[in-house]
Symmetry: C2
Subunit: 220 residues, 2 copies
Amino acid sequence: MIELSHIHRNFQVGEQSVHALDDVTLRIAAGEYVSIMGPSGSGKSTLLNLIGLLDRPDSGSYRLKGEDVTSLDDDRQARVRNREIGFVFQMFHLVPRLTALENVELPLLLAGMAATERRPLAEQALQSMQLDNRAHHKPEQLSGGQRQRVAIARAIVTRPDVLLADEPTGNLDHESGREVIHILERLNADGLTLLMVTHDPEMGQRARRKLLMRDGRMEE
Amino acid sequence: MIELSHIHRNFQVGEQSVHALDDVTLRIAAGEYVSIMGPSGSGKSTLLNLIGLLDRPDSGSYRLKGEDVTSLDDDRQARVRNREIGFVFQMFHLVPRLTALENVELPLLLAGMAATERRPLAEQALQSMQLDNRAHHKPEQLSGGQRQRVAIARAIVTRPDVLLADEPTGNLDHESGREVIHILERLNADGLTLLMVTHDPEMGQRARRKLLMRDGRMEE
Ligand SMILES: Nc1ncnc2c1ncn2[C@@H]1O[C@H](COP(=O)(O)OP(=O)(O)OP(=O)(O)O)[C@@H](O)[C@H]1O
Ligand SMILES: Nc1ncnc2c1ncn2[C@@H]1O[C@H](COP(=O)(O)OP(=O)(O)OP(=O)(O)O)[C@@H](O)[C@H]1O
Ligand SMILES: [Mg+2]
Ligand SMILES: [Mg+2]
């Protein structure tokens, strides 16, 4: 499903060069449930952005479902991304002028679905996150944890093949966090490939495969 | 130090009325170390914003160091806030076009301090957060946990009387989280009044006084 080979990603800030990903090689099969833990700044979000086709490596290759996606142009990458990948961002990235419901509908709208079809799907996704009573709130009218759950609802509403979740429970109390993980695990049981970055050891331990990052390098 | 009496805070969204704070009465003495936990959406950030003079109650009163601050106009509130309160925001709210170091210097600059004085203080604060090697990065060039730590450094650099921390370790690994809490606890030992909202029971348990919020109400 996901094959990374000798991936490097550097960032330049003035004279300083940050080696965010340092020779990462990783294979993830369809349907796997993988957690990625590691210190703050160790490269987890950078790795997820790369897998999610939101960033490109400086060297190395990335094959998604057997297709070399490293060399695709921006438009082709965007289409693959929208079709196959769901992403829960560490910083949520909700659209400020849209309501919670409209935010969750957005990927379905981008996929060309009609309003009458996408509305019930979006409502269902919000309901599974216990947010049906916040459907018409804009992001600034939501708590931190509610925004995080809207971001999760948006990522799963299209039933993607791969879900990349960057610290999906960081702003949630224990109870809400467990409910979210149960939903993601049910989707995984139905075939979703699930990659979760987390700082919560209790959440990380639940994955069938546990990866650790340190200074841009991957350990198993 | 902090006296809230019968505080109510409602939000109106279309036809829906959200009772974010429901008859909250609370006294916190100078130098206390208080944690506030509770479900997502229970009113913790709303409470902290109110105490931090970033929001006003709809009814009830708030006395800070014996002075009724509820009735102060915006300018007076801003001056009290800048002088006495440090705030670590759940969403960080760093200034995008400033570097990490400039972000940490900002409260000192607003307090009228010269560049030669504020620079070493800001560098020290960043160093205590293990971020001296990220001083010249802008927020978008930092990881989530690094941004969070810059927000913490900025909140403590002025040595305020009260520190309001809204989920200060939500994006940090266990190790970094503990280092941050140790620094905040040392400041508390030196007299800082510390109020911390957290979803991490291990962090919440360390406080000398533990509060719980549920549906806008406070329990002890
Ligand atoms: N756009 C950028 N420019 C420069 N440096 C960057 C940029 N993005 C990330 N970095 C640096 O790359 C390193 C890895 O960042 P990344 O966001 O992947 O870390 P992370 O493991 O997700 O951390 P956290 O747990 O704090 O979210 C960090 O040291 C960060 O400062
Ligand atoms: N500006 C607003 N307009 C309307 N409703 C709001 C607004 N801000 C907050 N709310 C609502 O008030 C309630 C309390 O929000 P608050 O941000 O205080 O929760 P919280 O306890 O900090 O939650 P979390 O743990 O998720 O951060 C939530 O149900 C939220 O939807
Ligand atoms: Mg990250
Ligand atoms: Mg909050």
